[in-house]
Subunit: 613 residues, 2 copies
């Protein structure tokens, strides 16, 4: 997508409005998701980017015959504003006071005049059902008619990328700790307990987990475009025949998986539901499209709406997965330590060649690529220098990237996909002199990260409760950050996965769900000062048992990420003795785990970088 | 109630079973509440104590033709077992694994045999509507018929105490910061926003708050038995005419309050609903009786069920209330400090006369009684020595109380009702040598109390999130306590009031509601070791603004309780430098606030008791 050609956008909007008029549509709605409620979407489904030029992950667009609005969240305010400049789009900064949500906007602006017909239309395949239900209800309240199966983008999109097609591969059951057949049996037990006869799955990581398959259809996400329908007799898997190899066919047969073709327009799964869906159907409205949900509702006598049973089972890693995860996280940490060493060496050498953000990313990506079992990145490395790091999801545009200076902070957020793990880690590195405020902020973030990292908690404690442990040192200083503190992480799957979430309390967001043994979660507080700098320290933790006694069951975290927290940026005046003890203890572990894998010069550096305060 | 005569209980059960048989009732249910969903109940409504001898606050009883079961919670396991001994009652320890709740028990044990009729009956006036709805639904699922308006206790209870009747008094609007008419206007605005035309209130503290009246019908709770029905035109107050004085009549007229008689059997409010209830009615099913709820449902075209709007407004104290609260809490704290001084002096003098738990309580109660504006206790002082303190709601039975020894801990939980405040405070006092474990536990409780006390938090943070700050030092040591960390406190009203609650996460319990500015809440972690000792440190905190900046709004707590935390029981090895700084800072405040009110000898003691570590 070339989003500098904003004239292209104007032409597309003109064509779209002509199609709207032809179809009697007053308001057309487009979201950035695909039929699988994905966060990251393959090029074929990037309709919102096609029509607006905005490449953010979390977008909703509303078009009228005169105007165009685009909603996105705080991570993308700055990049979206750049991408939309020169177009007619009005950027709606979701979350800011006074900015209405899409439903609020509909209520305030889209009520038809008396006696006038007015239609809100969208392509229900690319709107998740949870949102779709809200849009439908809001439209009804406003007196708008709804057409939820109108695709006006495909006819305009002449050079639309084809559906991706990459052969799927089989995950070794020994590596997963469980065969697909065993997982399917567990999920059938969940269905039975809920009184369901059919479970519909559209979320790609749920389907990959359940089938022990992996694909390559979405950049950096090892998933294959697919649907699954689980009955008492079989798991029906809808997948492109071009992606199936003989071993996969054999794996399917051995695990009770029946293969069906995947079709762009969801037709094959719709036909299946028409035939087999006359039973109690279980589905998760946040994990299927509005179109699939509507189809199921048409035929099923009863919909059992709840979180996919795969989601919680997938989040609790098996013993085999944990063994593999520990091994790869250690190697990934070694790469990060080597990277920090090189960056520090560069910063200390005024004669070293200039280094840009993209050079730094390439250096780290190269170190990861050397790890046996490396299969690619888990997301595009974020190398954010100086004020760029104040944008939580900054991505340098080639040619516009910053050149590192020997002062201030370089924030690097990165991760890899390996044969036996998906990793994620952020460190913020001092490249030279820092202001007192920078040091204070860095120290508070480190203290928050370590307080959460070393937390002990009663079984049943949820992520919103743990969240305050990381934020308290910031809050005491009147500081906060706008993103969650921790997200779940998949096993050779999505770098962001639910259901758990360490974040401020919001019912239904995952922060109200208990943190359970075996869950893998990030711990990543930060401080962002617009136009100045950004700091984030992210390690990944595994929930493990701590104690079981007359007071109950207690859990704690085992840290899997071992990379120094830059002592050059620590001001111990902002730590209490507990914070200092936690930092020293963490650094002792980093040295013990990482030193054996380093060259002598690197080892000497690490010893100093992890010295006790 | 003489609950040593357990033969009396047997006779009552025989008579009750005869009445059940006569009325065709298979299962009769009795709870410990009154028609106002009160926690503390006047003698007239203590039906559960009459029929069982058990005086706990939180009881449910189920009687069959052969057996009798009594449910209560962990605070009362020990006292209930004592009170029920020698009766046929089976004690159901609610909350223990394997102990079914009443609805679970009904499902497991009360399903009638095929073709048999079986009736569950209760007096819906003395069951709250929330529970009543659950019992009715469960009975339906079991195939039981329900009779929710069968009072079988009154006919048996020959010497039943009459309804209490004490004159009500008027709270000065200057002290409350708001007239009754102003409060009524605010609540009418809440009703309008919710589309309600009639609000039904049965909870006594809600009604007292709204009318700026106080009564004396429930021991230590300055409330008058009453109902209120708020319409667009008037506040209809149902109250015993014997309680009304001329000034109250004038106050009512000035504030748009229309007086109606209160009747034991709820008849007057039922007749009112029959006449005026044909409109959308707002009520809180946890705050009205099953009978009142059923009556409203019969006539209202629509029930708007939600928390009473009075509850949140009452919890956020006005500036005038806060001024008064600060003043009385200081005087109350002075009494507590003088008490600790006397106890410490007694403990240091081997020749001093023996002192029992009840002597200690009398000493403290006497000191409180000297405070100008003292109106009584806010609950019966809990003076728990040694192992007695392991029972969180211990009440010494006269004649069976413990005599203090010059070793171990004395836990004292107490509070007063004053003209301008309701107080609550707990301190645990070392009377002599302590084991290392006692010191460790005491230190962890102090650390937890102080971490919560000094918390800073983002606006919107709820009580379950703050709860972990108090528990974390205990959890790290594999210890926990079974009660909440903090409850709300009324203004010259209930010592326990909602809606906020600092406690483990449970949706709907109040721990999921944000802690708001102006709320008054306890901070009372503890550690209880059965048959050994109990420790609790409780101070009361007021939520106040902390900062407002680009990161948002932050709140913190202002501590209102000033009494030393016993340094003789502190082991600094279990504190980090932050904990020590917080303790020293708190003690410096205690000295500064309290010293001016002490005699020289007391002042010298306090200086030592609050010395920096």
């Amino acid at each position: 997508m070339d989003h500098t050609k904003n004239n292209g956008i104007a032409g597309r909007l003109t064509a779209l409005r002509a199609a709207m008029k032809e179809n009697g549509v007053s308001w057309y709605l487009i979201t950035s998701t695909d039929p699988h409620a994905s966060e990251y979407v393959c090029a074929h489904f990037q309709c919102s980017a096609f029509i607006s030029g905005c490449t953010s992950d979390n977008v909703r667009i509303l078009i009228s015959d005169e105007k165009a609005w685009l909603w996105t969240d705080s991570r993308y305010y700055i990049s979206a504003a750049k991408e939309l400049s020169g177009t007619e789009y009005i950027l709606m900064k979701e979350g800011l006071p006074g900015v209405p949500s899409v439903p609020q906007f509909l209520k305030e602006n889209c009520v038809p005049a008396d006696g006038c017909a007015s239609v809100l239309a969208f392509d229900g395949r690319c709107v998740d059902a949870g949102r779709g239900l809200i849009y439908r209800k809001t439209a009804e309240q406003c007196g708008l008619s709804v057409n939820g199966s109108l695709d006006l983008i495909s006819p305009l999109w002449e050079d639309r990328p084809a559906l991706p097609s990459h052969p799927v591969r089989i995950m070794n059951a020994d590596l997963c700790g469980s065969t697909a057949a065993e997982k399917i049996a567990d999920i059938r037990a969940d269905m039975k307990a809920a009184g369901a006869k059919l479970l519909l799955l559209a979320r790609l990581d749920d389907i990959m987990w359940l089938t022990n398959l992996r694909g390559g259809d979405v950049d950096m996400n090892p998933v294959a475009l697919s649907y699954a329908a689980l009955t008492e007799d079989a798991l029906h898997l809808f997948i492109q025949p071009s992606e199936i190899t003989d071993p996969v066919r054999k794996h399917a047969a051995e695990n009770g998986i029946v293969l069906h073709p995947y079709e762009d327009n969801e037709d094959s799964i719709f036909r299946f539901i028409e035939k087999e869906g006359h039973v109690p159907v279980m589905l998760d409205s946040s994990a299927v499209s509005d179109a699939l949900f509507s189809c199921a509702r048409e035929y099923a006598p009863k919909l059992i709406r709840r979180m996919n049973p795969t989601t919680v089972r997938k989040a609790k890693k098996t013993a085999a997965e944990i063994t593999s995860i520990r091994r790869y996280y250690l190697q990934d940490s070694v790469a990060v330590c080597k990277f920090i060493y090189r960056i520090k060496k560069w910063a200390a050498d005024p004669d070293a060649a200039p280094m840009t953000e993209l050079d730094a990313a390439a250096l780290l990506d190269g170190l990861r690529a050397e790890i046996p079992g490396f299969q690619g990145l888990s997301f595009a490395t974020i190398p954010a220098y100086g004020a760029n790091a104040a944008m939580a999801h900054y991505a340098p545009v080639p040619g516009e990237e910053s050149t590192l200076q020997r002062e201030g902070f370089l924030l690097v957020d990165s991760g890899g996909q390996y044969e036996g793990a998906t990793t994620d880690v952020t460190r913020t590195i001092a490249l030279g002199p820092l202001s007192d405020e920078m040091k204070r902020d860095f120290t508070l973030v480190a203290a928050g990260n370590l307080r959460l990292l070393t937390a002990v908690f009663k079984a049943g404690t949820n992520g919103s409760q743990l969240d305050v442990l990381a934020r308290e040192p910031l809050w005491v200083n009147g500081i906060d950050f706008g993103h969650g503190t921790g997200h779940g992480i998949g096993f050779v799957l999505s770098v962001h996965e639910g259901p758990q979430r360490i974040a401020p309390f919001r019912p239904g967001s995952g922060s109200d769900l208990p943190m359970e043994s075996g869950m893998l979660t990030s711990d990543e507080p930060g401080i962002y000062r617009e136009n100045e700098y950004g700091i984030r320290t992210e390690s990944i933790v595994l929930t493990v048992p701590y104690a079981e006694n007359e007071f109950g069951s207690f859990l704690t975290f085992e840290c899997l990420t071992f990379a120094p927290i830059d002592l050059a940026a620590i001001d111990p005046d902002y730590m209490d003795s507990g914070d200092i003890a936690r930092l020293n203890e963490y650094h002792a572990q980093v040295y013990e785990k990482i030193a054996p894998y380093l060259e002598e010069e690197e080892r000497v550096w690490l010893a100093d970088a992890t010295r006790p305060l």
